[in-house]
């Protein structure tokens, strides 16, 4: 029948149209017109377990691209950010990096946000010879440097944080400490360094306690440390357990034993959650967290204050130290693009030879032996005073 046949045709046509629409929707659209854009690839954990890292990193990277393009780009080329969310999943991250390399053909990649995801893509960056600037902390990301030719990182290593902490303890005459660490990648890495470096600073670890990231009570661990005769306790965790440690320490009236937290405690949210209990807690922090406290003549003062102003004006929320990693990696990538153009090998060489780069997390001095470029001197010892950070004496 003719009528039915036509109906069928119409049905077919609309179905084809639907598929075309779907395909168009699913194919990423090229952004920006005019001068051939310089691409920067980015992989952050914007959602999932590490979204507290990826979210500010994404916002920071997008803000910087806007600023640069508003100034007319670099060398007349607009900058295009190709950003993927790995949902804090190693497999997805691996695929995202390959896609950036193969499909988007980016000359440089910033991220991933977490150590686990960074380590899952180190071999990809090496195999395809693409410079990758990780925003995560683990020293394994850039060591051994012989097999990390193409990989850099802008987050300080845990050895710097521990070193700064132990320096301070040494100055205060603390020799016996108890440590408590969370059993995640973050905690495990901290524990390794705390144990490894103690001897160099003449410190004895008299208690070594561990707990799960979802534990709801740390009294048992703190009680053991109190009984061990420690002069100080170091807690190494992020999330609710970092708050529990402070509350437990206060509830058990352990003020006589100084409480040190890792740099993971460096968010004002923790101070709100802990309230008065956090008074006197000590921790090493990157300067980006304490910008307003720095003396005017400090070389990092200017970049940090500018970042804080721009970010807070745009997003109406305080900056976080993680966004600072994105700032550092973005500006390193931009500096490289400006100096040598979108050439993977040249960008790598440029990064490796970058000295005195003033960033949010310190003054970077890269070298063929050091693809991190930071030291413990890029940290400040901070104490919680009146519900805010203050530089510790």
């Amino acid at each position: 029948m003719v009528g039915r046949g036509r109906n069928r045709c119409v049905g077919r046509a609309s179905r084809v149209l639907l598929w075309v629409c779907a395909l168009v929707l699913l194919t990423p659209v090229g952004v920006l017109a005019g001068g051939k854009p310089y691409k920067i690839g980015a992989v952050f954990s914007v959602t999932g377990g590490a979204s507290f890292l990826g979210e500010p990193e994404k916002k920071t990277a997008e803000m910087i691209v806007e600023q640069v393009n508003a100034r007319g780009g670099i060398n007349g080329h607009p900058v295009q950010l190709v950003l993927y969310d790995d949902e804090t999943d190693a497999t997805k991250c691996n695929l995202a990096v390959k896609k950036l390399i193969k499909r988007d053909k980016v000359p440089v990649i910033i991220g991933p946000s977490t150590s686990g995801n960074s380590l899952a893509v180190v071999s990809v960056a090496e195999a395809y010879k693409v410079p990758l600037i990780s925003c995560a902390a683990s020293y394994k990301i850039v060591e051994p440097v012989a097999s990390r030719h193409w990989v850099f990182k802008v987050a300080g290593s845990d050895k710097h944080v521990v070193g700064k902490m132990y320096d301070y303890m040494q100055a205060k005459g603390i020799t016996k400490i108890g440590i408590m660490t969370v059993s995640t990648g973050f905690g495990a890495s901290g524990r390794e360094e705390l144990l490894r470096l103690a001897k160099d600073y003449g410190i004895t670890i008299v208690a070594d306690e561990r707990y799960g990231p979802k534990d709801t009570d740390l009294t048992a661990q703190l009680t053991k440390i109190r009984q061990s005769g420690a002069q100080a306790v170091v807690n190494w965790s992020v999330g609710p357990t970092a708050v529990l440690a402070v509350k437990g320490w206060r509830d058990l009236k352990m003020e006589g034993i100084a409480l040190f937290q890792s740099h993971g405690f460096g968010s004002k949210k923790y101070l709100e959650l802990c309230g008065d209990a956090a008074e006197g807690v000590l921790l090493p922090l990157a300067r980006v967290n304490v910008g307003p406290l720095l003396p005017e003549d400090h070389p990092q003062k200017k970049v940090i204050m500018e970042y804080i102003r721009a970010y807070e004006a745009k997003y109406q929320e305080p900056i976080s130290s993680f966004g600072g990693h994105a700032w550092d990696s973005m500006h390193l990538a931009l500096a490289a693009l400006q100096a040598v153009g979108p050439d993977r090998a040249k960008i790598r060489d440029f990064l490796e030879n970058t000295r005195n780069f003033v960033g949010q997390h310190g003054i970077f001095n890269f070298s063929p032996q050091d693809h991190n470029g930071l030291s413990k001197d890029d940290l400040e010892m901070v104490v919680v005073k009146n519900g805010d950070w203050a530089l510790a004496e």
């Binding site: 914007v46 377990g49 999943d89």
Partner: protein, 324 residues
């Protein structure tokens, strides 16, 4: 297998063999080969799981654990003890088979939700061990610099080479599973699925068959784990947690439990949906992913493969009636 059935399978095999060459010229999909490598690795897990769920009627939430055991055994034997990866792979499978047998004998006496609970518990225990045995597994920071694979002295580097290797494994697993299903064991499994007591009354050794299928699914998961290890060359326990066990079950359910093709289609579909096709939704990706799962379970509970077969049959019937 009848010749009529062989034709579509031949076409499918040819398509799979040509896949890397089909997508290569199109820049926007050229990286699909990478996605297919992971999809193939996950297919190995879900083929075993579909045998267990769709045919023996047992739900396992421990597949990620077996996947993890295989991965870690391979990583430790090659990374620490310098074994050849090809020797470590069967070693991992043997370990997995032994563990599955030990877990399976008591656990498979349980039914329905209780079995799911028991395997879930086992999965969680394995995850905790991977996290806490820092000396062996590297703990939560993971294991780095695991050696890659090589064949006859040539290291496997390109994604295309990996694609062919992984999908050869998948083809072998499919073939083997197909033969199992169309043997006495397969018929017995179906009988168990229909009505366990009746099957037992007919003389089917129910308990022993269930354990055997469970062990088989664990071995496939272990092989997948070994391939994953040497492909990514980095392991962290979070790739083997409960969420992944649930994902594997979802892949089987979405594709269709009653058919091996269901496991295949569901796995490839969800791997692409999860990693590729929803990126345009950015922050809402997870919501859309959830909505797709919900739609499938609500409207095509028998799975995509069965749904497609029915559509085809309906259309054929309609064509027939029109031509009359």
């Amino acid at each position: 297998m009848s010749p009529r059935k062989l034709v579509p399978i031949g076409v499918f095999a040819a398509f799979m063999a040509a896949f890397p060459w089909i997508v290569a010229p199109f820049e926007s999909v050229s990286h699909y080969t990478d996605v297919m490598v992971f999809a193939g690795i996950f297919c190995l897990v879900t083929i075993g799981l579909s045998l267990l769920m769709g045919f023996a009627g047992q739900i396992s939430l421990a597949q990620a654990a077996f996947f993890g055991i295989g991965a870690y055994v391979s990583a430790i034997l090659t990374g620490r003890f310098g074994w050849n990866p090809w020797a470590a792979m069967p070693a991992g499978a043997v370990v997995c088979a032994a563990v599955a047998w030990i877990v399976g004998v008591p656990a498979l006496r349980l039914k329905g939700h209780y079995l799911a609970m028991a395997t879930l518990g086992f999965g969680v225990i394995v995850h905790i061990i991977l996290n806490e045995e820092v000396e062996w597994t590297g703990g939560p920071s993971g294991m780095v610099d695991i050696p890659g694979l090589s064949i006859a002295g040539t290291p496997l580097l390109s994604e295309t080479a990996w694609y062919y290797l992984v999908w050869t494994f998948v083809a072998a697993a499919l073939l083997f599973s197909y033969h199992v299903l169309h043997s006495r064991v397969g018929r017995a499994l179906r009988a168990i699925h229909e009505e366990e007591k009746a099957a037992e009354a007919m003389g089917v050794p129910v308990a022993s068959y269930k354990v055997q299928v469970f062990v088989y699914s664990a071995v496939l998961a272990s092989l997948a784990g070994s391939l994953y290890t040497h492909y990514v060359t980095f392991l962290t326990p979070s790739s083997f947690d409960l969420m992944w066990s649930i994902r594997f079950v979802l892949m089987v359910v979405v594709g269709g439990m009653q058919s091996l093709w269901g496991a295949l289609l569901g796995t490839v579909f969800l791997t692409f949906v999860g990693n590729e096709w929803l990126q345009v939704f950015a922050d809402f990706e997870v919501l859309v992913y959830g909505a797709i799962l919900l739609l499938v379970v609500l409207w095509v509970p028998q799975g995509l493969v069965v749904w497609m077969q029915e559509r085809l049959r309906l259309r054929r019937a309609a064509d027939l009636s029109r031509s009359e």
